[in-house]
C-alpha cells in the first residue's frame, strides 16, 4: 500500500473542501482499503467522513430517505425500510456478509468498483485501471462479465445488489460539492464504459453523496429481489432481478424491472415494463415480457449462459412478486 495522509472531517464543508483539494472520501473502507492494498487505488489523501451526520434512515411521507453513511445492516433491519420498501432490505441482505454489511455504507455501496478479476491484476491489460492498456477480459476468463452495455474497451458488470433495487424503484440521490447541492436519479449516477471505462460515475470531483430517496409507490410488498449465484450466499450475482408489480383484479397496472450481474451498470428494462402493462399477472405474460430482456445482448466467449439465465430469473422474480396476497 502506498503512503497516504488520513484526515477526519468534522463537517460536510470540511470534507468537501478536502476533496476539492484532491482527497478521497473513505466511509466503511471495504472497497477502498481492499483496492489500496492491491495498489489498484493509490490515493495520496483520504478524508474519513464517518463523523458526519449522514446515517439517518427515515420516512418522509411515503418516501424513504437513507443517509449515505447508513450501514447496509442498519438499513436492512430498519422498521421503516421493512414497512415502506422491503425489497431494499431483501437486496441488502443478499449482498456481501454480515460482517461486511456492518461496515459498508450505502454511498460506498453505490460507488463500489468492479469485480472483474483483471482489474486487480496489475500485470493484466485493463482499460479501467490503466486507460489505453486494453481489456484482458474480452478474450479471457469472462464468465462473470456483462452482456449488456458493454463496449470494446470494457465488459465489467456493476456488482452492487441494492443499486439494482434502487434503480428499479426510481430512487434519487442528493449530492453536495463546492458548487452546491443537486439531486438526480440513481440510475443516472452510472456511466456506460464506452471508450472511457475508467470514468464510472457522473459525480463531479469531490461531490459528496448526502442521501438516497426512494419514492413511495404502489408496489410495497409486491416487490422482490432475486439473486442467482454460484453459492447460496456471500457471492456476487451471476444474474439478479429487482421487480415490482402493481396489480389490480389480476391485471398489471404498472411494473418496474431492473437487473444486475448482466449490465455494465444496474440495468432498467423499460421495454419489459411496457410489455407487462395491462396484461394478466400470470406466467405467460411474464415470459413474453422477459424475452425482451435479451434484445441487444452481446455475450462473450464464456457467458452465453447469462442470456438464458436472464429471462428465467426475471420470470421467477415476477412470480415471487405476484405471489403476495
Amino acid at each position: 500500500m502506498f503512503p497516504f495522509v488520513l484526515e477526519k472531517a468534522g463537517s460536510a464543508e470540511a470534507a468537501i473542501a478536502a476533496a476539492a483539494a484532491g482527497a478521497r472520501y473513505i466511509a466503511g473502507g471495504t472497497t477502498l482499503v481492499d483496492l489500496m492494498r492491491d495498489e489498484v487505488e493509490r490515493p495520496e489523501r483520504l478524508v474519513d467522513i464517518n463523523a458526519l451526520p449522514l446515517s439517518d434512515i427515515r420516512a418522509d411521507g411515503e418516501d424513504l430517505v437513507i443517509g449515505a453513511l447508513a450501514r447496509m445492516s442498519d438499513v436492512a433491519t430498519h422498521p421503516e425500510v421493512g414497512r415502506l420498501q422491503p425489497i431494499i432490505a431483501e437486496s441488502l441482505i443478499e449482498g456481501a456478509s454480515p460482517q461486511l454489511r456492518n461496515m459498508a455504507s450505502m454511498g460506498g455501496n453505490l460507488l463500489q468498483r468492479c469485480r472483474c478479476p483483471y482489474f486487480r491484476m496489475l500485470d493484466a491489460a485493463c482499460n479501467k485501471r490503466d486507460p489505453g492498456s486494453g481489456c484482458a477480459a474480452i478474450d479471457g476468463l469472462n464468465a462473470g462479465n456483462a452482456i449488456l452495455g458493454t463496449s470494446d474497451h470494457c465488459v465489467a458488470t456493476h456488482p452492487s445488489d441494492v443499486a439494482v433495487a434502487l434503480v428499479a424503484l426510481g430512487a434519487t440521490m442528493r449530492v453536495r460539492g463546492s458548487d452546491g447541492e443537486r439531486s438526480f436519479a440513481v440510475e443516472d449516477l452510472f456511466r456506460l464504459p464506452g471508450d472511457t471505462p475508467h470514468l464510472e460515475h457522473t459525480l463531479t470531483p469531490g461531490e459528496l453523496i448526502l442521501d438516497i430517496r426512494v419514492p413511495g409507490g404502489p408496489y410495497g410488498r409486491r416487490a422482490r429481489y432475486l439473486k442467482v449465484r454460484d453459492r447460496a450466499s456471500y457471492e456476487f450475482a451471476l444474474v439478479s432481478a429487482a421487480v415490482a408489480l402493481d396489480v389490480e383484479e389480476g391485471l398489471i397496472r404498472s411494473s418496474r424491472i431492473a437487473v444486475g450481474g448482466v449490465g455494465t451498470k444496474p440495468w432498467r428494462l423499460r421495454a419489459c415494463e411496457t410489455a407487462l402493462a395491462g396484461k394478466p399477472a400470470d406466467r405467460s405474460s411474464f415470459e413474453a415480457a422477459a424475452r425482451l430482456a435479451t434484445e441487444g445482448v452481446r455475450p462473450l466467449s464464456h457467458n452465453h449462459y447469462k442470456a438464458e439465465l436472464l429471462p428465467r430469473t426475471i420470470v421467477r422474480a415476477l412470480e415471487m412478486a405476484g405471489d403476495v396476497a
Partner: protein, 215 residues
C-alpha cells in the same frame, strides 16, 4: 508529500519470507518491522492529532496516536495509517488469536467485535477506530472458564485444523446477539461470512445453535 513505494508493516508480513527471517521467528521479524516504522515516525507526533471537529493533516505514512480498549484494557498506541485493525492486533499488540486468511474481506478469519458489532478487521484502517471498544477471541475466557460458545465448539467439534475458529466464534457471538440463530438454516445463512476450509460446518452450526439456546 512524496508517494514513494514503501510497504506498510502488514504487507511486509504477507510477503516477507526472505533471507534474515530464517534465523529469527517470523513473528519477531514482523514486530521488528513494525516498531522500526513507528520509531522512525515518532518525531512527527505533533502533526498527528485528529480531532472530531477539525480536519488536520498528518504527514503521509507518519505514525499517529490511537487509543483502543482491547478486551477491557485501554491501550495507547502509535500506528502507521496503512495498518489494518487486524495488523495492529496481531503485530503491534501480539494478539495473534485473530487470524489473517485472505486479507480481502472474503473469509471471515479476522472477525472481531468493534463496539459490539462483528466486522472483518482486515478491511478497516486501525487509525479510523480511535476510542473503539474491541473484543477478540483472547478476551472470551474468564477466570479459566471458556465462554459458553467456546465450550460449545469443543463439545460439537466445530473445528478441525482450528484456523478459522477464532473468526467463527467471534462471528457466532455477533450472529447470536443479532438474533439470527433461531434455526440451523438461519445460522447457515448468517454465518456465511466465515469460510471453513476443513468443512467443519455441521459442528459449527450445532455449536452456535447450542450456545444460542443456552444464552
Amino acid at each position: 508529500m512524496t508517494n514513494q513505494h514503501q510497504r506498510s508493516p502488514g504487507e511486509a508480513g504477507t510477503n516477507g519470507h526472505s533471507g534474515p527471517a530464517s534465523t529469527l521467528s517470523r513473528r519477531t521479524v514482523l514486530q521488528m518491522a513494525g516498531s522500526a516504522a513507528s520509531l522512525a515516525a515518532m518525531s512527527h507526533a505533533e502533526a498527528q492529532s485528529i480531532s472530531e471537529t477539525q480536519s488536520t493533516v498528518a504527514d503521509a505514512g507518519a505514525a499517529r496516536p490511537l487509543q483502543l480498549t482491547v478486551n477491557g484494557v485501554s491501550r495507547e498506541l502509535e500506528v502507521d495509517p496503512r495498518q489494518s485493525l487486524l495488523d495492529v492486533l496481531r503485530e503491534t499488540l501480539d494478539l495473534t488469536g485473530t487470524k489473517k486468511g485472505c486479507n480481502q474481506g472474503a473469509c471471515g478469519a479476522c472477525t472481531i467485535l468493534v463496539n459490539g458489532r462483528r466486522i472483518v478487521s482486515c478491511l478497516t484502517l486501525a487509525s479510523m477506530h480511535d476510542g473503539a471498544e474491541i473484543e477478540t477471541i483472547e478476551g472470551l475466557e474468564k477466570n479459566g472458564e471458556l465462554h459458553p460458545l467456546q465450550q460449545a465448539f469443543v463439545e460439537h467439534e466445530g473445528l478441525q485444523c482450528g484456523f478459522c475458529t477464532p473468526g467463527q466464534i467471534m462471528s457466532g457471538l455477533g450472529c447470536i446477539a443479532e438474533g439470527h440463530a433461531g434455526s440451523p438454516e438461519e445460522i447457515r445463512f448468517w454465518m456465511s461470512g466465515n469460510i471453513c476450509r476443513c468443512g467443519a460446518y455441521p459442528g459449527i452450526v450445532a455449536a452456535v445453535a447450542d450456545a444460542a439456546g443456552r444464552s
